[in-house]
C-alpha cells in the first residue's frame, strides 16, 4: 500500500488531537434513476476509549454512515480520517487493508463461517492478515473466549452453538485483531434481553480493558445506558451528540 502522503494526512485540530476517527462533512447520495440524498454533511469524531451509540429512526442514515465509517462504502463528498489517514481517495484493496488493520465489525446477525470452529472463526481476521498475526493472536483469542464462557467450546463447530453463543463468538472475533475501532450494527438485535445484556457487558468490559473505541448502532433505548456518548441522527443529519 502507498505511504501516507502529506495531502492524505491532515493535521488534527487541537480539539481532536486524540481522535482516531474523524468525519468531515460527509455526504452520501444514492443514484438509482433519481438522486436520493441520505447523509447531509455529517461531522463526527471518535476518540480512543469512546463507547458511543448511534441512534435514530429507520431511514435516518445510521447504517449508511456506519458502512462509510467501516470503509465498506465511500462517501459522495466529504473526508474521513482514520488514524489521521484520509481514506476517501483509497482504492478497494487499500480500504480492505485498513479494515483488517484498524476495524472490527459486529453485525446484527453473527455471520460466522460455518465451515470453521469457534477458535478459527475468532482468528479469521488475523488469518486474513497472515500466518504470523494468527499465531500471535492465538493465546489472546483463547483467553477472550474463556472470558465469555466459551473456553470449553473453542473446537466446536459454530453451527452447534446457541444464538447467544454465536453472537458472543462474533463479538470476540471483532476484537481478535486488536482493532482501533469496533463498529457494531444492532449487535443484540437478534438476541433475547438476557443474552443482549451479557453481550453488551462483554463489549463494555473489553472497551474499558483495551481502550478500543466503540460505535454502536441501535434502536434499543436501554442500550444507550452503556454508552459514554449518544449520537442522534435524523434525516441524514446529526442532531444530538451528548457525552
Amino acid at each position: 500500500m502507498a505511504d501516507v502522503t502529506d495531502e492524505q494526512r491532515s493535521g488534527p485540530t487541537s480539539e481532536a488531537e486524540d481522535a482516531i476517527l474523524r468525519l468531515d462533512d460527509i455526504r452520501k447520495t444514492y443514484t438509482n434513476g433519481v438522486d436520493e440524498e441520505v447523509l447531509f454533511g455529517v461531522d463526527l469524531e471518535l476518540r480512543t476509549g469512546d463507547f458511543a451509540v448511534l441512534v435514530g429512526k429507520s431511514g435516518s442514515g445510521k447504517t449508511t454512515l456506519l458502512n462509510i465509517i467501516g470503509l465498506l462504502d465511500t462517501p459522495t463528498a466529504g473526508r474521513l480520517f482514520l488514524d489521521d489517514r484520509e481514506t476517501s481517495t483509497l482504492d478497494e484493496d487499500e480500504r480492505a487493508q485498513l479494515r483488517r488493520e484498524y476495524i472490527g465489525f459486529i453485525f446484527q446477525f453473527h455471520h460466522l463461517l460455518s465451515d470453521f470452529n469457534v477458535l478459527e472463526n475468532v482468528l479469521m481476521p488475523c488469518r486474513i492478515r497472515g500466518k504470523e498475526h494468527e499465531e500471535a493472536a492465538h493465546d489472546r483469542a483463547v483467553e477472550m473466549l474463556q472470558m465469555v464462557g466459551l473456553g470449553e467450546k473453542i473446537q466446536t463447530p459454530v453451527n452447534e452453538l446457541s444464538g447467544g453463543q454465536q453472537q458472543r463468538v462474533a463479538t470476540v472475533r471483532a476484537f481478535a485483531n486488536d482493532p482501533t475501532v469496533v463498529l457494531a450494527d444492532e449487535p443484540t438485535g437478534s438476541l433475547d434481553s438476557e443474552t443482549s445484556r451479557s453481550v453488551m457487558d462483554l463489549m463494555r468490559d473489553i472497551n474499558r480493558e483495551t481502550g478500543t473505541a466503540f460505535l454502536m448502532v441501535t434502536h434499543d433505548p436501554e442500550l444507550t445506558d452503556y454508552a459514554d456518548r449518544v449520537v442522534e441522527l435524523q434525516d441524514g443529519r446529526i442532531v444530538g451528540n451528548e457525552g
Binding site: 484493496d93 480492505a96 483488517r100 463461517l113 465451515d115
Partner: protein, 420 residues
Amino acid sequence: MPDRLSWSVAWRGLVRSKRLTALTLVVLSVSVILVIFLTALIDGLERDLVEETTGAIAHVLIEPREREPLALWNREQPAAPDDGLLYLGERTTLTSQKGAIDNWPRWTRLVDRFGPEIQGVSPAAEGQGFVIRGEKREAVRLYGIEPRRYDRLVPIQKNLVEGRFYELGPGEVAIGYKLAETMGVDTGDRLQVTTSAGTGRSMRIVGLFDTGFGGVDNAAVFMRLGDGQSLFGLGASVNAIGVEVHNVFQADRVAEQLQRQVPYAVTSWIADNERLLRALEGQGRSSDLIIFFTAVAAAFAIASILIVLVTNKLPEIGILKAMGATRRQIRTVFALQGALLSLVGGILGASVGALTVKLLSKIEGPPTASGRTEPLFPFELSPELVAGTVVGAVLIGFVASLVPALRASDVDPIEVIQNG
C-alpha cells in the same frame, strides 16, 4: 502463492460440501477416463494401421532409376551409316527397364552410418515370380536377401512357425505358412521358383513363418542374396536397398536427405500411401474433437458446480471481504477449489482409465490358423498420455473456476450484511 486463508477456506468448502464435491469428482473422473480410453484406442488403431501398412515393406527404398524413353528428335544423333536409308530406331542390348546397384556394399554402409533414425538396411535382389509344384502355380515376390539384415525390416526369424530363416543355405527358401497351405507343401519339400522373365530353379523349403502380414505370409519367398542375384541375372549387383527407420513418419525426411547422397531413386512409403496418411490425419482430428468436447463438457460441469458453491458461500465471502480479505484472496479460494477438484478428479480418472485400458488390453482376439493371437482392443497407452490428461484436467479446472472466482470476488459485503 496462495496464503493460509485461501487454502483453508477452499479446502473446508470442498470437504463440507461433500455431495457437490463428489459430483464434481465423478464428472471429472468420467471425462478423464473417456479421454484416456478413446485416445489410447485411437492411438492403438493408428499404430496398428501404420504397422499393417509399413510392417512388411521397407520404409525407404533405394532403387536404380527407371530408364526414361527419349524422343529421337531430342537425342544426339549418332553418325548415320551412309547407306541411303532412314533409321527410325536403334538396336540396344538392354533387357530390363531398370538398372542395378553395382557397388551396393558402399551404399549400404553409407546408409548404415546415416544416423540414429536408421533401424536397418537390407540389400536385395528382388522381383516378381512364380512358385510351381505339380499343377499348382502361385504368383509371388522373390527376395534374395541377407536374412539377418532383412530381419530388421520385416521380423521373420521371431515369427518362424517351423524351420529356419537366418541360416538359409544355397538353394533353400523360407515361405509364409499361408503360401505353404495354398501350395500343399511343408518344410523339406521342393518348389520350382521362377522369375517373371522365365529363369527358374528348384529350391527346398527350410522355413515357414507367420508374420501376420497377409502380403508376406501369402506371397513372399525368401532366399539367400546369391540365389536371388543369380535368378534375376544381376551378377554381383542388387536391385534394391531397403531402409527401416525408427519413426515411420520421418521416412519422407530421411528419403529426402538420402536422395542428396546416393545416385539412385529414393522413395519413402509415405509417397505411396498418401490416402492412408490423410485417413490417419482425419482420425487424429476426430480424436482431437472428441477430447475438445469432452474437455468443454467437463469445464462446464466444474464451472456450474463451483458457481453453486460460490452462491452457497456468498454471505461468508461478503463477511471475509468486510473483515479485510482482498479480491485476490477470494479469487484464489475458488481457483484453488477448481484446481484441487480437477487434480483429484484427474488422478482418479487417470488411474481408473489406465487400469481399465490395461485390463482390456489383456483380452485376446480369436487365434489365427497358425495359433497366433492378438489383443482384441489395440490400445496404445503411454505415461505421457496419462500425465498429459491429468495436467490438462487441472488446467481445465483452473480455467473453469475463473468465472465463479471473479463472481465471488465481486461480492458486495454491504448487500450480504444487510440481507443477513
